[in-house]
């Protein structure tokens, strides 16, 4: 029962460095999402994808890039890391429409600190 797997679980970056947060799911879900959770705040949508080759911006896309070359994988790229990107990042997935019934399946998150 792998579900949604995120790597790494923790990471410290220096300002200006780049990194990719990995997300993979084994449920054949079409829809995948990246959220960030800041302290004392709810989750905010960064990017989402409704299928391989299709991505779209969410509420807070600045400073991030995504790609979706396969159904399983949805990596999130941070270019030129800034302290404002210190957050916990969650990847999630769902089938079309079933997210309305069962919610999303979430990964366990990546805690990123930019110093």
């Amino acid at each position: 029962n792998a579900g949604v797997t995120q790597t790494p679980k923790f990471r410290i970056l220096k300002i200006g460095q780049s990194m990719t947060l990995q997300c993979t799911q084994d449920m054949n879900h079409n829809y995948m999402y990246w959220y960030r959770q800041d302290p004392g705040m709810g989750l905010k949508l960064i990017y989402y994808s409704v299928g391989a080759g299709i991505t779209d911006k969410g509420e807070v896309p600045n400073g991030y890039n995504v790609s979706r070359s396969t159904t399983e994988d949805f990596p999130l790229r941070l270019e030129l890391a800034a302290p404002s990107q210190t957050s916990v990042y969650f990847c999630a997935s769902s089938y079309p429409r079933t997210g309305l019934i069962y919610g999303y399946t979430f990964g366990s998150g990546t805690r990123l600190t930019v110093v």
Partner: protein, 114 residues
Amino acid sequence: AQTVTQSQPEMSVQEAETVTLSCTYDTSESNYYLFWYKQPPSRQMILVIRQEAYKQQNATENRFSVNFQKAAKSFSLKISDSQLGDTAMYFCAFIKNTGNQFYFGTGTSLTVIP
């Protein structure tokens, strides 16, 4: 735009007692869904309960129930017979019937006291 407000940053309850977490939302949509998610210290997001806006009957899942007041745009979560394992952050979330995006509140940190 949709907004979700949770006005109680922290709450506590004695084990076996009942607690109610509040949530209000703002939307111009008529057809939508509301969820409560639980986030324990493990950070895993766990679906607790959901409500379809077109249903008047309040959803119930074992010890968890909601009070959905559509006109007031209120969606509170009641936890009965609280257990130590209920200690977690609870998020209220909204999604349009035609939407791809959940809108989350800021969360309520619930502590169950032995």
